[in-house]
């Protein structure tokens, strides 16, 4: 391959569209070495020259705190590509230029592709491309990748820029000083002092000294390590200390000095090159005036949550009833048509009764996921971290923790994976540890069952209180862990705020299907396995097969293995007033939280009449304590496995231990206070 090109840009700037437009179908997909970040490499041929195109992860900066940023930074420093194509969003130049400045600092051979020019035009945003080129000292190519406008210009510019740089390099041996036309007025003296020392070490020649100097001021761990292991460290250390001391006095922290200087420059550039030609307010501007306002934006989350819950529970109701009816009929048909009692019981009491009890909640989940996908596609969901950043910081969490937390209401597994966008490792561990406390959709069937059975008039309020309890516990736990374990502050927030638009029905339906499919897959595998296991442990005991009558005969099932397990735990949960069936169901809930409902249906021999049976087996206080225990206790096996993969065994075991203790304490408190208040 003649030339190697890297594509880099913020998330959602149209990088993938440009990558596809340049490479066509010649794409290889793998992982970056040592990490689970996708690596896309493609090939392009233009005017007889061959290019290798490397698609770097979408990043907002090169601060190297997140895995994505580390991958991008390491590649740029170590692979030194022939050209770095920085793709920027013309409608959000201010945010995108932050990365551009960092790429210039690193000393990359740069070309700026200004995408979404059509959208900028629609919004009345005019960008003076020539002026931007002059200020930055790099070639700027305007384009609209989604409309395939400007792709040929980009190819031409890539070829020309590489060839021009090669010619220049033949004439100039050292890195050209004019290559960095962007200067930080308040930092230049410090940068020069540090650079002059760095330049003395031959081993550091492969790095741009200006970049190393800026990174040292920024307190970048990776660069600190490189410099500490170099010959010049002894000379540099006192100078660096002095500079940091001076900057701390002026800016609070030296790294803030660099951030502030960059934004000052960006502000000036944007004022020079961007002009708003139309005065018409856009939908996004009007909505963001209100929805991203710190106070009113926070207040308006209430109606959105109300709509979400009303749509999820009330609108889905008849569909749940249809499923309930179908499974009840199916169970009767199987029992009457299969002569083999063992098989009939396995299918009717085990599989149909257990899976049926869980699938009754399928419409609720489908409606919930539809609503969440709708809000995501509309652009509102992305605003929530922005609105909540300050509130989250008060609890020791970064603003970005809101997205995994909101996702946690669906399923904790993808939610924990979503923490990968959190740059700081400690912030990430903390966000992962508290995530299982957020009520995933698997716990909803448990709440719906108990709230419907014992709190029918206030069903919505009771279910909502479980979600609120989860959020409160998660926030308080985060605050406690931050103060006692991590003892640091959360990192600053940078998020992408997309334009609002009417959601596309096909996108919303596709996202909904992907999410409910996971639930259906679970119902067909883990839950079937769970309920069949419970069935076997119910119909067998130390004395052997007890017969299918166990589900109608409380004396008989009391001799089963499941009763033995439950009875072992009953003394521990005696203060909460749960019988051995409830205790057994909790044990099986470790497989998956949905199994709790299926297990209860079987153990009480209730099938689709489970609600009535539960209403008699539990008091409102013991039911509420049971719901709270189910909310907090052990993460399911899948969640535990993901925690282990993401942050290791030590933290996974820690999560298990603290959640068990917390669950027991909370359930006990509810029981004690409940009995004191309501008798």
């Amino acid at each position: 391959m003649e030339y190697e090109i890297a594509l880099i840009g913020n998330p959602n700037v149209g990088k993938s569209t440009i990558f596809n437009a340049l490479t066509g179908e010649n794409v290889y997909i793998g992982n970056w070495a040592g990490v689970t970040v996708e690596k896309k490499v493609g090939e392009m041929e233009y005017k007889g020259k061959k290019f290798k195109i490397v698609d770097l992860p979408g990043v907002y900066s090169l601060t190297a705190n997140s895995i994505d940023e580390i991958v991008a930074r390491d590649y740029l420093i170590n692979e030194n590509p022939d050209l770095v194509v920085n793709i920027a969003d013309a409608t959000a130049l201010e945010r995108n230029l932050y990365l551009t400045l960092q790429l210039m600092e690193i000393g990359a051979d740069l070309l700026l592709a200004l995408n979404k020019m059509d959208l900028a035009d629609n919004l009345g945003i005019e960008v003076d491309v020539k002026k931007l080129e002059d200020i930055l000292g790099v070639k700027v190519v305007p384009l609209s990748a989604s409309k395939k406008i400007g792709i040929e210009d980009l190819k031409e510019a890539i070829l020309n820029t590489i060839e021009e740089k090669r010619k220049k390099r033949k004439n100039v041996n050292a890195k050209d000083k004019d290559k960095y036309p962007i200067k930080y007025p308040h930092l230049e003296t410090y940068i020069k002092r540090l650079s002059s020392i760095i330049e003395k070490d031959e081993a550091l020649k492969k790095y741009n000294p200006r970049y190393l100097a800026i990174k040292l001021i920024e307190n970048d761990e990776y660069i600190n390590e490189i410099i500490k292991n170099s010959k010049i460290w002894e000379d540099l250390e006192p100078v660096l200390k002095e500079i940091k001391k001076e900057l701390s006095k002026k800016y609070g922290e030296p790294e803030l000095a660099v951030v502030e200087e960059r934004y000052k420059i960006i502000d000036r550039i944007v004022k020079d090159v961007v002009k708003k030609t139309s005065g018409k307010l856009t939908t996004t501007e009007m909505l963001d005036d209100v929805l991203t306002d710190e106070k009113i934006g926070t207040l308006l989350i209430i109606p959105f949550l109300w709509m979400l819950f009303k749509f999820t529970f009330d609108a889905s109701k008849p569909f749940s009833e249809i499923i309930q009816y179908i499974f009840a009929s199916l169970s009767t048909v199987i029992k009457t048509s299969i002569s083999n009692k063992f098989l009939a019981s396995l299918l009717a009491d085990g599989v149909i009764s257990g899976v049926g009890a869980v699938l009754t909640f399928f419409p609720i989940l489908a409606f919930l996921f539809f609503a969440i996908s709708f809000l995501e596609d509309s652009g509102y969901m992305a605003r929530i971290p922005f609105i909540m950043d300050r509130v989250m910081n008060k609890f020791g969490l970064p603003g970005k923790a809101v997205i995994p937390m909101v996702m946690g209401f669906g399923c904790n597994v993808p939610a924990i994976m979503a923490t990968r966008t959190i740059e700081n490792r400690e912030d990430r561990i903390l966000t992962i540890l508290i995530n299982p406390l957020l009520s995933c959709s698997a716990r909803l069937p448990i709440y719906a069952l108990f709230a419907g059975a014992l709190f029918s008039k206030y069903q919505g309020v009771v279910i909502l209180s479980m979600y609120a309890l989860g959020v409160i516990l998660a926030l308080l736990t985060a605050l406690m862990f931050r103060r006692l374990i991590f003892k640091t502050s959360p990192a600053y927030l940078i998020v992408e705020l997309p334009q609002y638009h009417i959601p596309h029905l096909n996108v919303v339906l596709k996202n909904t299907w992907e999410r409910v499919y996971d639930f259906l897959k679970k119902a067909g595998t883990v839950i079937v396995f769970g309920v069949v296991l419970v069935w076997f442990l119910s119909v067998y005991g130390p004395s052997g097969y007890l017969g299918d009558e166990v589900f109608n005969n409380p004396n008989l099932i009391a001799h089963s293995y499941v009763a033995i397990i439950g009875k072992m735990l009953t003394p521990l949960f005696a203060p909460m007033g749960w019988d051995w069936r409830a205790c057994s169901a909790l044990v099986f809930g470790i497989i998956a939280k949905e199994v709790v409902v299926g297990s209860l249906a079987m153990l009480y021999g209730a099938g689709e009449n489970l609600s009535n049976v539960i209403a008699h087996a539990f008091s409102p206080v013991s039911a509420y304590a049971f719901m709270a225990f189910c909310l907090i206790y052990l993460p399911c096996i899948a969640t535990l496995a993901v925690i282990k993969n993401e942050i290791g065994w030590k933290w996974a075991l820690f999560a298990v231990a603290y959640e068990m203790i917390l669950a027991y304490v909370v359930a006990l408190l509810i029981s004690v206070i409940g009995h004191f208040l309501f008798g």
């Binding site: 018409k280 909505l287 005036d289 009113i296 209430i302 109606p303 109300w306 819950f309 109701k317 008849p318």
Partner: protein, 144 residues
């Protein structure tokens, strides 16, 4: 564009809708709290949902901030009118979907249903939110 006329219009429409949402929100919350305390008072259109009452109150407050902005001559008043009307419309759409869902339940024989009983304050205010939405759209078009 007659700025004074537009400001007056935004202020008065926001005031009317703000008051409607706030009063309805308070009534809904009061009935809901009463229900919890065992005092069952029923009013036509109101269901006694505390959370729903809070939602109406939040939309009402948004309209009222729009009134304040309009009085002070801030053009962003139209943003408050627009956003509150969008959220109000959303509430109305959800109330309509719930009404349809109850209808389906009735047709399948799962529940009792009468259209009049299912028409709630959420649906009424939601449908009426079309008015401020249309007005804010007109103001936006005029501002070009």
């Amino acid at each position: 564009m007659d700025v004074r006329r537009v400001r007056k219009m935004i202020a008065s429409v926001s005031l009317i809708f703000g008051c409607s949402f706030i009063i309805s929100g308070f009534v809904e919350m009061a009935l809901g709290v009463g229900k919890i305390l065992g005092v069952n008072i029923s009013l036509p259109l109101f269901v006694g949902d505390v959370f729903g009452g809070l939602a109406l109150l939040a939309v009402g407050i948004t309209y009222m901030i729009g009134v304040k902005k309009a009085i002070y001559g801030d053009i962003r008043a139209v943003s408050y009118l627009f956003t509150a009307s969008i959220v109000g419309l959303g509430i109305g759409i959800v109330a309509f979907l719930v009404l349809i869902s109850h209808g389906i339940g009735f047709l399948l024989g799962f529940e009792e249903w009468s259209p009049l009983k299912n028409i709630t304050i959420y649906l009424i205010l939601g449908v009426l939110a079309v008015i401020p939405y249309k007005i804010s759209e007109a103001v936006r078009a005029e501002s070009t």
